[in-house]
Structure formats: structure tokens, C-alpha cells
């Protein structure tokens, strides 16, 4: 892996790099880097480039050429990795969704570990607040991913829309777990999914109007809204 550091690093440890520094391009010519590693790096650069190109050009204008140029690969290389633009967007979406869910799960688990000794009440707000804070921190650190995950994909990108539904289901499951049992009344199915839908649109709107940097500042506000429908009047 050390060969990859022969070129300047541009991206640190985002979800597309899975902990490995991600150079913008590999050295030309005979570099001795195993082919599998080259291919994997091309793929990761393409995923990052896809998210960046979407953030800049939107779904209306993004093209495979823009993505390839950003990733410093040819369009021929693009099509070795992905069948079309939406396949690439889908792969980027899945990586982003995994990163987001991982961040939330990690924060909630850490919160549970910390609380073990204190034994918090089953309807404690702490896991919910920890999960929301982790999600917003993830979005703030990865603004191009945040836009990708929050936006409604075009109709023709049906697989991407399915991936969004799956993300909503995963986040709804995390919301249920973080909220605990509440008053013990079972929540009718579908309600948490509606809350997550609303949250993604709400956060996406905030990013569009004010950017992603200050998102962690709305954690308390979002927690108050999400928690309200389980509180007595």
C-alpha cells in the first residue's frame, strides 16, 4: 500500500477511501502497483468524483465525462467499472449510506457502553441525541455525500431510488432502536419511515440554503422535532 503515497494525497479518510489515503491519480508508467489495487483506486476515485459532480452540476447536467475527468480516468475506464452513469451514482450512494448508518450505529453503541454503569431509563433520549449528532457530524464532514443522500433521485434512476428507500428503512430501524420502547405502545408501521423521509428532506434543504458546515448546530432542534410525536401533549 505504501506505493500509493508516491503521489500527493488530496483526500483523507472519508468513506470512499476506507482509511487509505486517496491520491487524485496514480503515477504514470511502470510503477509496480498491483493491478487489483489500481482498479480499486480507480473505482474509489470514480465514486468520489460522482458525488462531487452531482453536487456541482445536479442530476440535470451531470455526465460521465465530467465524472471521468474529475477522477482522472478515461471514459473507457469509467465504462469498465460501471454500465452507466446511474450505476456509478448507485455505488456512490451505497457507500455513503453505509458510512452514514455506520456512524450512527457507532455513536449509539458508544452511548450505550457509556451508560451501562448508570443504567439509564429505557426511554432515555440519550441514544437518539447521540445518533442525530453523529448523523449531522457525518453530513457536515462529507457535504457532497450529504447532498447525494438527501436528494430525490430522478425517476429514471430506479435503482438509486430503491437504494434511497432502503436507506430510509435502515435509518427508521435505527430511530426505533434509539428511541427505545417509549410508553410501550407499539408504533404503527410506516410512521418512522415518514419521520426519516422528512428528516432527509429537511436536512437537504438546510444544506442547500446554508451549507453543511453548521449542521451539527441543529441537533437539538431536530431531536426535539423527532421526539415530539411520542410525547404526550
Amino acid at each position: 500500500m505504501s506505493e500509493l503515497r508516491l503521489v500527493p494525497e488530496e483526500t483523507g479518510d472519508g468513506p470512499f477511501s476506507t482509511g487509505t489515503p486517496l491520491p487524485r491519480r496514480l503515477p504514470r508508467g511502470r510503477h509496480g502497483i498491483p493491478e487489483g489495487l489500481v482498479v480499486e483506486h480507480q473505482r474509489r476515485r470514480l465514486l468520489l468524483a460522482m458525488a462531487e459532480a452531482l453536487a456541482e452540476h445536479g442530476y440535470a447536467n451531470v455526465t460521465t465525462t465530467q465524472v471521468s475527468e474529475r477522477a482522472n480516468v478515461s471514459t473507457a475506464t469509467f465504462y469498465k467499472h460501471f454500465g452507466n452513469l446511474w450505476d456509478c451514482a448507485l455505488a456512490a450512494y451505497v457507500v455513503g449510506a453505509d458510512g452514514l448508518c455506520g456512524a450512527i450505529e457507532g455513536a449509539c453503541a458508544a452511548d450505550r457502553d457509556e451508560a451501562t454503569d448508570d443504567v439509564p431509563p429505557p426511554d432515555s433520549d440519550a441514544p437518539l441525541e447521540a445518533g442525530i449528532a453523529a448523523a449531522l457530524a457525518f453530513f457536515a464532514a462529507e457535504p457532497v455525500l450529504a447532498r447525494l443522500l438527501c436528494a430525490q433521485p430522478p425517476r429514471e434512476a430506479s435503482a438509486l431510488r430503491a437504494a434511497r428507500r432502503l436507506l430510509v428503512s435502515r435509518l427508521a430501524a435505527l430511530l426505533r432502536r434509539a428511541r427505545g420502547s417509549g410508553d410501550g405502545t407499539p408504533q404503527p408501521p410506516g410512521l418512522d419511515e415518514r419521520m426519516i423521509d422528512a428528516t432527509l428532506v429537511f436536512v437537504g434543504g438546510r444544506i442547500a440554503s446554508e451549507g453543511a458546515v453548521d449542521l451539527p448546530g441543529i441537533a437539538a432542534e431536530l431531536a426535539a422535532i423527532l421526539d415530539r410525536s411520542r410525547q404526550p401533549a
Partner: protein, 233 residues
């Protein structure tokens, strides 16, 4: 809904005072064609040719009315989202009380979506692909609706009010649900979401008990009067 909010909303409604000229009728047809084509084929695949095939006009005439397809879509979007807003608002302000207004507004929205799925797809799904002026108009409409939902905050004690962003949150949840049904090509399915969306809207402002009641009421309404609600859809 509070009287002053109703008055302010009525003033914002577009009022047509003169009979349309033949040229205005053609222009109107082109705008409807743009929404229809975008809704059916997607914004990326739409073309002036497809619009003219739908509306029956001539290319030269089209470019006398609009600078480009993007301009046509933006103007069409503005006109139709205002009309839809007026329709929803008219039934909402006529209802007795905030919850009844929300429910009546949702029913009017769902009727439109089920009656005109292609145009609705353009208004809710593809506008997010298009961006630009249409997207800005969309954001204005969301803000207006969010403000109307927020009128109920004034009836709550200051300590018991949800944050002002509650309105944008609820509108986002409603819109995401509409987008899902439209993108899946199942516009009629939107009716099934009425109880969940009533729970989301009422719960966000008034808490769990009121939300559970609103959910049950909406379910009963659907069970007993679905045909009437769907009306001439």
C-alpha cells in the same frame, strides 16, 4: 387555521381576470406540454420537439414564447405550482380548525396527484432534477406551506411549541411520500399514506395523543369514504 393567515394566503393567490387570447392559449398548451413531457420522460430526456408533439404548436412560436425549454419549464412550473397551492389552500381555509385544514389540504393534494400523475411528477420529482428557477419557486411554495402549518404554534404555550422549522420538516415528509408514489408509477397509492402523514403533521405540533387520534380518524375516513375522497380522481 387562523383568520389572518387565511387572509394573507388568499392575497397570495393568483387571480385571472381576463379571457385568454389565442396566443395565450397556445402558450398555455406549450407549458402544460412541458410539464407533461418532463413528468413522463424525465427532465433529462425532455425536448422541445416532444413538447410540441404534445401541445401541437410550432417551433418558431415556441421560441417566441420562451427562451428555451428550461425557460418554458420554469414558467410552467411557476404557474402550475401556484394553481395547485391555490387549490389546496382554498379547501384548507374552508375547513373548521387546524387539523381539519391539514387533512383537507392533504386530500386536495392527493386528488391532484392521482388525477394528474405526469404533471405531479414534474412538479414534485423532476423539479429537483431541474434545479434553477423552478427549484427556487418550489422552495418558495414549500416555505409558504410551512408557514401556514406553523400557524398552530401560536395556539400553543411558548414552552410547548415545536421549533419554527417544524413546518419545513412536515412539508418535507409529505413531499417525500408524494415523490415515492409518483416515481414508483403508483400515484393512487398516495391515499394509503393519509393516516401516516396526518400522524406526522399532528404529532410534530401537538404530540403523541393528538397524533394517534388523527391517525385513527384518517384511517376511519379512508375506510368509510375513500371513494368520496378520491372524488372525480
Amino acid at each position: 387555521m387562523r383568520p389572518e393567515a387565511c387572509a394573507a394566503a388568499r392575497e397570495a393567490l393568483p387571480v385571472e381576470t381576463t379571457a385568454p387570447t389565442p396566443d395565450a392559449t397556445i402558450r398555455e398548451g406549450e407549458m402544460e406540454g412541458a410539464l407533461h413531457v418532463v413528468g413522463e420522460h424525465g427532465y433529462r430526456a425532455a425536448s422541445v420537439r416532444a413538447v410540441l408533439e404534445y401541445s401541437g404548436g410550432h417551433r418558431k412560436q415556441f421560441y417566441e414564447h420562451f427562451d428555451s425549454l428550461e425557460d418554458c419549464f420554469a414558467q410552467a412550473y411557476s404557474a402550475w405550482i401556484d394553481r395547485l397551492g391555490a387549490t389546496v389552500l382554498t379547501v384548507a381555509v374552508a375547513a373548521d380548525g387546524w387539523q381539519a385544514s391539514v387533512r383537507a389540504g392533504l386530500v386536495a393534494l392527493f386528488r391532484f396527484v392521482a388525477q394528474s400523475p405526469e404533471i405531479s411528477r414534474a412538479l414534485f420529482v423532476e423539479v429537483q432534477v431541474a434545479g434553477g428557477r423552478a427549484s427556487a419557486k418550489h422552495d418558495e411554495a414549500v416555505e409558504r406551506l410551512a408557514g401556514l402549518l406553523n400557524t398552530v404554534r401560536e395556539e400553543l404555550s411558548p414552552d410547548d411549541r415545536p421549533p419554527p422549522s417544524a413546518g419545513a420538516f412536515v412539508v418535507g415528509g409529505i413531499e417525500a411520500c408524494v415523490c415515492d408514489a409518483l416515481a414508483a408509477g403508483e400515484a393512487d397509492r398516495i391515499w394509503d399514506a393519509l393516516p401516516e402523514l396526518m400522524h406526522l403533521a399532528v404529532g410534530t405540533y401537538l404530540g403523541k395523543e393528538a397524533a394517534d387520534e388523527a391517525l385513527d380518524e384518517a384511517r376511519t375516513l379512508l375506510d368509510e369514504h375513500r371513494d368520496t375522497l378520491e372524488g372525480d380522481a
